[in-house]
């Protein structure tokens, strides 16, 4: 078995985010790391939408990310600390839309190690040096400079090592143009390590240490070190030099402290807390992330607490001495892993879990009634300020980026009966979690729908002048009339446009600078800007059957297959070419390309004829209307469209990008779309790609998407073919079927589509280009853990379990208790006020999804069981479990000893579960009876168990339950489930049970798989084989009777198989007199499974399923990861394919080494050597590398580059999207 790894959707969670002017223009971009890929985002300051410019897979783990700018420069560079043992400096080249590796310096071993730097990065704010640090001991400083040609240079590393020291955080201190300085939070454990009594360990204090890079002496000195009173978690650098007082802010538990070198006193301010918080008041509060905003005149910091509250921090100074820290509650947003404040006034919040947000900072919170807290206010030690959280006041949400991270479970099924299966996912954490339904397709936002007087045939939009930004008219053609609508504030009908309204229209377009043209069956109407109209009438009884129009040219086909060609001359007159062209048969469709910039005409006309051919005809004056090339088709053409695709992004200042090539798209009557490259010189057709779109003939429309051309193809489903990030995408629209469409641009919707569907006119916008899935999200209360699908009713039964949380009941009780305390605490005269306050407190309703849920402390659990209709998003039933009951496993079962078709849901619940070390106060198996349409669960009984019931699976009319390390077989009884059989030989904790036939595959949390057989005669469960590697399994799925795919918590996927000579017909040996050598090594099973495939994904897989993703496609292994990746492992069906991709992968490894310096082969072999899996993600980078390199690789494979990319596309479309 050979597999091919394809990522369908890249990770969506963000681990790091930095902002800067990476493209060198005035625009600010955000660079985010999504674990193992880098993505450049640009928030559009006009629309507030975040667009992705570039995504690159780096095949390494990004551990730290920083942006820096050389003094006096205008462009930001990127420093990446990764697991490659190298420091890498990247530059974004906007013309080519790539990241270029400027420097790569090796300093240590690869891998995420304790003493190899890469974990922390600190930049001198003036861009003169960078410090890269490890968690322990090692720190290296590189000096950055520029050479005579203004290229960035990097010095050899200067060591700042100190052994026996752990580092928590490092920042570059802004010292102006004095020697660069770095501040580190450190702890020296040497004394604690040598002290056997353990006393020193308690006394050891964290220190704040300053390292100075002496640029004159070219070495680093440990300048100053000071023990800290509280344990701090991170540092914020304060602007220095001419901009501020310099120094650092130390964020520690409950306190924020300002420190600086010299005679500056420490300024200390407590972190304010929420008034009347349900949280444990003894629990400390920390800041988890911060963002600095600095202009020439002022600076402030935004710091977020772990509850999500953002505080604006300002410093009061007196002659460069800080006198006061001021804190002001700003707003509350979801807890972030990184925040960026942009110059344009946006705040980008990369959420820890769930969707990411872009906010506009509407107010700086300077002049409102919100109380300001200051370090100067007298407070007793241990006392703090209080504030009341409230809905957003200073921030305005402008865009939301979908993020699936973390995906906790996923199943592929077609519950909505749509013939393309959907992905049902449990996403998120805590009160922000959701159940999401993913469908393949582009999300369509409906801007407007209006009904029309009849059923229209076609629709176009035209601009009044070529230089206008927005369209002026919408022209709708009916069977016998044409309707003209003008676009303004509203869309209304007009009659003075010059268009002929009494006839159907074949096509219309803007012509030249400011004229319009309308083609109708009896002629052509040329409408000049001054409303003069030139008409051309068809000769005799002939009518126009088809036409093609662009900005300067009009071609019409008359009945009988005669082509007439018109071209606009410099005076704006439309002239007929002297000759006409007789075609061998009737023309069924025609297309013209757009006139290329700076040219007079498009040189090619494509004509589809009734004899199943498409011909390219030259429109060059030298050989006008002479045929250039022809292509035979499998069926008659329905529609043609020539577009220019594959052009690079045009840079910010309008500098031209790389030019693309022309593509002829041919929609056939049998529902197939062909895409062919049209040679821009000779007009030859080559490299045809085919895709079946639907059952209806394919109609094609050219539209504009994100500044480049795209094709909207309509069959029984509508598709968008576009070029995005070096790859062709053909994605269905998640929308009802449409009949005719045209591009649309107005002030409200700059890049939209106007389309008709039956008798309605719709204005649509396609925004999330590049997204493979569109998602529907339904919020749930707690972190959803596992779910089962009730197939008959297509309902989901979900267990939601939250650690460190109160149930609704407990929360209510606590509120009442607190309200009572409030009243009791009040004095005589304040009684009235206290009662009011208590009332207000009881009625207060802040949504937990924004303001986060109160933290109850470790060992506190809240759980619910939810019956959800995933199509409607309706919760049918919600069963709330008691406080400290954690629902951990679920299964849908039919018991053999119960009535036929009576289904039961068994939920494994642990009571008083402590995670580390694992302790449990028992557990229960809740058995619920499911009614026929799965809307109601009725509790039948509750079976006590002595350990954590962590896995349940139906097995031959009974259930198998993993209770701690015991595998048990339960049968349905009257008062409880009856234990019938037990196996105690699984070493640690059963996390997953899969059964097939009589074989049972049991996953242990750290000892991989055990193959168990149930022997009915003896009523025994016997382990007959196990795995050779200790995998920490997260999920396993059975591929066939002998083969299991597993994923582990280190991000590996392995396929293991019982080889041919393994038999499950073994006896257990209770007497122990079995031969010693027959017992297996170290108490393992005598028989071992073999490894078929190994692969390191790089993210923790939480679901594995064998499924088909497209109707009529083949099966593949679908996986989802915690970071939000959806990927597939596809089996190769032929040896040739495997051989081809093996070689391609090999060439790509050597020609295109990963961006962050990690070797691809060693990354994919992180824990186990990669075996029998080829990396499609690397192979697909073929499309984005240099043309010359593409050519040399393709030559080595005895193919052309286009053949290689066709193969890449083929294997993708055969299994997935």
């Amino acid at each position: 078995m050979h597999l091919y790894n394809l990522t369908l959707q890249r990770a969506t969670g963000i681990t790091h985010a930095v902002h800067g002017n990476f493209s060198g223009s005035k625009m600010q971009e955000i660079l985010v790391s999504r674990g193992k890929s880098l993505e450049l985002l640009r928030p559009d300051p006009n629309t507030g939408k975040v667009h992705t410019l570039l995504t690159v897979e780096v095949f390494g783990i990004v551990r730290s990310l920083m942006a820096f700018r050389l003094t006096g420069g205008t462009k930001d560079y990127i420093v990446v600390g990764s697991d490659s043992g190298r420091i890498v400096i990247l530059e974004y080249i906007s013309t080519k839309n790539i990241f270029e590796k400027v420097h790569q310096e090796t300093f240590g071993k690869s891998g995420c190690r304790r003493i190899v730097p890469g974990q922390y990065l600190a930049i001198d704010p003036k861009g003169r040096a960078v410090m890269i640090g490890a968690i322990e001991k090692q720190k290296l400083v590189y000096i950055l400079n520029r050479d005579a040609e203004a290229r960035l240079t990097i010095s050899s590393p200067l060591e700042a090592h100190k052994s026996n020291t752990l580092v928590y955080h490092t920042v570059g201190v802004d010292a102006g143009f004095e020697n660069p300085m770095f501040a580190c939070l450190e702890i020296d454990y040497e004394e604690a390590d040598t002290d056997p009594t353990g006393e020193a360990a308690h006394k050891t204090q964290q220190t704040l240490t300053f390292y100075e890079l002496d640029l004159g002496l070219n070495h680093v000195v440990r300048k100053y070190s000071e023990p800290l009173e509280e344990h701090a978690n991170f540092l914020v650098s304060v602007p220095g030099g001419n901009d501020g007082p310099s120094g650092v802010l130390i964020c520690s538990e409950n306190y924020l402290t300002y420190k600086n070198l010299g005679d500056q006193h420490d300024i200390r301010c407590p972190i304010p807390r929420r008034r009347n918080d349900l949280d444990d008041p003894e629990r400390g509060m920390i800041f988890v992330c911060s963002a600095t905003h600095k202009t020439k005149s002022m600076f402030f910091f935004l710091a977020q607490t772990e509850q999500g509250d953002i505080f604006k921090i300002t410093l009061e100074t007196d002659e460069d001495m800080v006198t006061e820290i001021k804190l002001k509650y700003f707003d509350t947003v979801p807890v972030a892993s990184a925040m960026c404040v942009m110059k344009t006034g946006f705040l980008f919040v990369a959420s820890e879990f769930g969707n990411h947000y872009l906010y506009q900072i509407a107010h700086l919170g300077d002049d409102d009634d919100e109380p300001e807290f200051s370090s100067a206010m007298p407070l007793e030690e241990g006392d703090t300020f209080f504030f009341a959280p409230r809905p957003l006041r200073n921030l305005v949400l402008v865009d939301e980026l979908d993020s699936l991270s973390p995906i906790l479970a996923c199943q592929v099924a077609d519950l909505a009966n749509e013939d393309t299966p959907q992905l049902y996912m449990l996403c998120g954490r805590g009160p922000r979690s959701s159940v999401r339904v993913l469908r393949h397709g582009l999300e369509v936002s409906e801007m407007a729908v209006s009904e029309l007087p009849g059923n229209p045939n076609a629709v176009w939009t035209v601009k009044r002048r070529v230089d206008e930004e927005y369209d002026a008219y919408i022209i709708v053609s009916f069977v016998n009339a044409t309707l003209v609508l003008s676009i303004g504030e509203t869309v209304e009908e007009v009659t003075d446009s010059g268009f002929l309204g009494t006839t159907p229209t074949l096509s219309c377009s803007a012509l030249g600078e400011d004229a319009l043209v309308q083609v109708y069956p009896d002629g052509i109407r040329h409408i000049r800007a001054d409303k003069r109209v030139n008409e051309w009438k068809t000769p005799g009884k002939k009518t126009i059957v088809k036409c093609a129009v662009n900005q300067r040219q009009v071609v019409i086909a008359l009945t009988g297959g005669e082509l007439v060609y018109f071209e606009m001359d410099p005076t704006g007159q439309l002239n007929e070419y002297t000759e006409r062209k007789e075609m061998p048969s009737e023309a069924v469709c025609m297309a013209l390309a757009n006139v290329p910039a700076g040219e007079q005409r498009s040189r090619f006309l494509a004509v589809g004829l009734a004899d199943n051919t498409v011909r390219i005809i030259s429109l060059d004056p030298l050989d006008c209307l002479s045929p250039l090339s022809m292509q035979a088709l499998p069926a008659a053409a329905e529609s043609l469209c020539i577009v220019e695709m594959g052009a690079g992004e045009t840079g910010g200042e309008g500098e031209p990008g790389t030019t693309g090539s022309l593509y002829l798209n041919i929609g056939l009557q049998n529902g197939v779309l062909l895409r062919t490259v049209l040679d821009q010189v000779t007009g030859d057709l080559a490299d045809t790609r085919t895709r079946y779109l639907g059952s209806r003939p394919v109609k094609l429309f050219r539209i504009r998407m994100q500044g480049s051309e795209a094709v909207l193809a309509m069959s029984s489903r509508s598709w968008l073919s576009y070029y995005y990030q070096n790859r062709f995408h053909l994605t269905p629209l998640s929308y009802e079927s449409l009949e005719y469409a045209s591009g649309f641009s107005s002030e409200q919707c700059p890049e939209g589509v106007v389309a008709i569907s039956t008798n309605t006119l719709r204005i649509l916008a396609l925004e999330k280009l590049g997204a493979v899935f569109n998602q529907v999200s339904f919020p749930v209360d707690y972190t959803p853990r596992k779910f089962v699908i009730h197939q008959e009713s297509a309902h989901l039964i979900i267990t939601e379990t939250e650690h460190n949380a109160y149930t609704e009941d407990t929360k209510k009780q606590r509120r009442i208790q607190m309200a009572e305390e409030m009243q009791e605490a009040a004095g005589e005269e304040e009684q009235e006020l206290a009662r009011e306050m208590a009332e207000a407190f009881l009625n207060e309703d802040l949504p937990e999804s924004v303001f986060s849920a109160p933290k109850a402390g470790p060992g506190m659990w809240a759980s619910v069981i939810r019956v959800l209709d995933p199509v409607e998003g309706r919760t049918e039933q919600l069963i709330k479990l008691d406080q400290n009951e954690a629902a951990l496993s679920i299964a849908l079962v039919k018991f053999a000893n119960q009535a036929d078709n009576q289904q039961f849901v068994v939920v494994g619940v642990a009571k008083e579960l402590q995670l580390n070390p694992r302790q449990v106060g028992g557990g229960f198996l809740y058995t619920y009876k499911v009614n026929a349409d799965c809307t109601h669960l009725e509790l039948v009984h509750k079976t006590p168990v002595d350990e954590v019931p962590s896995a349940i699976a139906p097995f031959q009319g009974r259930i198998l339950v993993g209770v701690g390390r015991m595998l048990r077989l339960y049968d349905m009884g009257r008062k409880k489930l009856l234990r019938k059989c037990e196996n105690k030989h699984i070493p640690n904790l059963i996390v997953n049970i899969q059964a097939m036939g009589r074989r049972i595959f049991v996953s242990d949390v750290q000892e991989s798989l055990y193959m168990v057989r149930y022997k009915r005669q003896e009523n025994q469960l016997i382990i007959f084989a196990d795995d050779t590697h200790p995998r920490w399994i997260t999920i396993a799925t059975v591929l066939d009777f002998d083969t299991v795919a597993t994923a582990d918590k280190f991000g590996n996927i392995a396929v293991i198989r019982l080889t041919g000579n393994v038999t499950d017909d073994v006896d257990e040996d209770p007497t122990g007199n079995k031969a010693l050598w027959d017992r297996g090594l170290l108490n393992g099973a005598a028989q071992k499974a073999g490894i078929v495939a190994n692969f390191h994904v790089g993210e923790i897989c939480m679901s594995l399923q064998r499924a088909t993703l497209i109707p009529g496609g083949s099966e593949s292994l679908v996986y989802t990861t915690l970071s939000g990746t959806v990927g597939v492992l596809v089996p190769f069906t032929s040896h040739e394919d495997q051989d081809f991709f093996q070689h391609l992968e090999m060439h790509m490894r050597s020609e295109n080494p990963p961006l962050c310096g990690r070797d691809h082969l060693s990354f994919r072999s992180y824990y186990y050597p990669v075996k029998n899996v080829l990396d499609g993600d690397l192979c697909e980078q073929f499309n984005s590398i240099d043309i010359a390199k593409q050519k040399s690789i393709a030559d080595d494979l005895d193919r052309t580059p286009s053949e290689v990319s066709k193969k890449l596309e083929d294997i993708r479309t055969r299994y997935a999207f």
Binding site: D971, L978, K980, C981, N1019, V1062, T1063
Partner: protein, 299 residues
């Protein structure tokens, strides 16, 4: 090849076979006729070699063979070499030793069984062992306790074994065995008798052939690992039975099947048969509180 005209000489047929061989196997680069010829020769020798029982030689993992009779386990490359060895003097003398030893072992086993019976009153469960063996035949109901004249006698009698201590002194043997033991046939006669019975045993060639056919696939599995996704209410034994025998079931068979079914169901839900053949609850298994008697068969 059914309609092959008579004109085809044996030579021609050999050629055809040979061609077929060459075509079907794989392309050869050189013309190594010598090798092919020797392979053919070896094949013929194998076909003509004398009958070697399955349990007297073993095919090793590396494709060689070893003689299981000789204690020094000589290794042979081919079946013919093994056959030649089996005719040799050394082997014959080893065979006589082997037979003697085997006989002793058999007696020992019988004795130990007898002793155990006397101690516990239980006969070793033959049925259990028979399950996997071929001797199963079409027997439907496999009971824990196989038929034994001794156990029949013992039914109902709950004597303490100690009472019989005088009757079974250490020296006294079981009568039948003892008498036979006294008249031990001579070694050569034994060998002769043994060789006569050899033809009844499964020949080694077949095993070897099968092994070679399925080379790399693991023949063991294809032989005895039938994928069984049986439902819980149709026990394995029946499945096996229906798979092997296609003869129509008599009424008696049906009844027996039902009984077997029922017993399997009881076993699966934790009932075990005690020495008296009564169903008792397994102490390690949970039952409904009112479930004191095993559920009756459905009819």
């Amino acid at each position: 090849m059914v309609n092959t005209p008579k004109a085809y000489t044996a030579d021609r047929i050999w050629c055809l076979v040979f061609e077929l061989f060459v075509v079907m196997s794989f392309k050869r680069d050189g013309d190594d006729l010598n090798l092919l010829r020797s392979l053919k020769h070896r094949r013929v020798c194998e076909l003509l070699s004398s009958h070697i029982p399955d349990d007297e030689a073993m095919l090793l993992k590396n494709g060689r063979l070893t003689c299981m009779i000789c204690t020094h386990r000589p290794i042979f490359d081919t079946l013919s070499m093994l056959a030649i060895h089996r005719k040799g003097k050394k082997h014959v003398s080893e065979l006589s030793k082997y037979l003697l030893h085997k006989r002793e072992l058999d007696t020992k086993k019988l004795k130990s069984e007898q002793r155990r019976y006397l101690c516990t009153g239980l006969v070793e469960s033959m049925g259990h062992r028979a399950l996997s063996g071929e001797a199963q035949g079409n027997k439907l109901l496999i009971t824990q306790v196989a038929y034994s004249s001794c156990s029949k006698q013992r039914l109902g009698l709950q004597r303490k074994p100690i009472l019989d201590i005088e009757n079974i002194s250490k020296e006294t043997e079981i009568p039948g065995v003892a008498t036979k033991n006294n008249v031990f046939p001579s070694a050569s006669a034994q060998v002769r008798q043994y060789l006569k019975g050899l033809w009844k045993k499964k020949p080694l060639e077949k095993t070897v052939e099968k092994c070679r056919e399925n080379y790399g696939e693991g023949w063991a599995k294809s032989l005895n690992n039938v994928v069984d996704i049986s439902l819980p209410d149709c026990p394995e034994s029946i499945l096996e039975d229906t798979a092997t025998s296609s003869r129509p079931c008599s009424e008696e068979d049906v009844a027996r099947k039902k009984k077997a079914d029922h017993e399997l169901k009881l076993k699966m839900s934790g009932w075990i048969k005690n020495a008296d053949g009564k169903w008792v609850q397994d102490p390690d298994v949970e039952f409904d509180s009112d479930e004191h008697e095993p559920p009756k068969s459905s009819d």
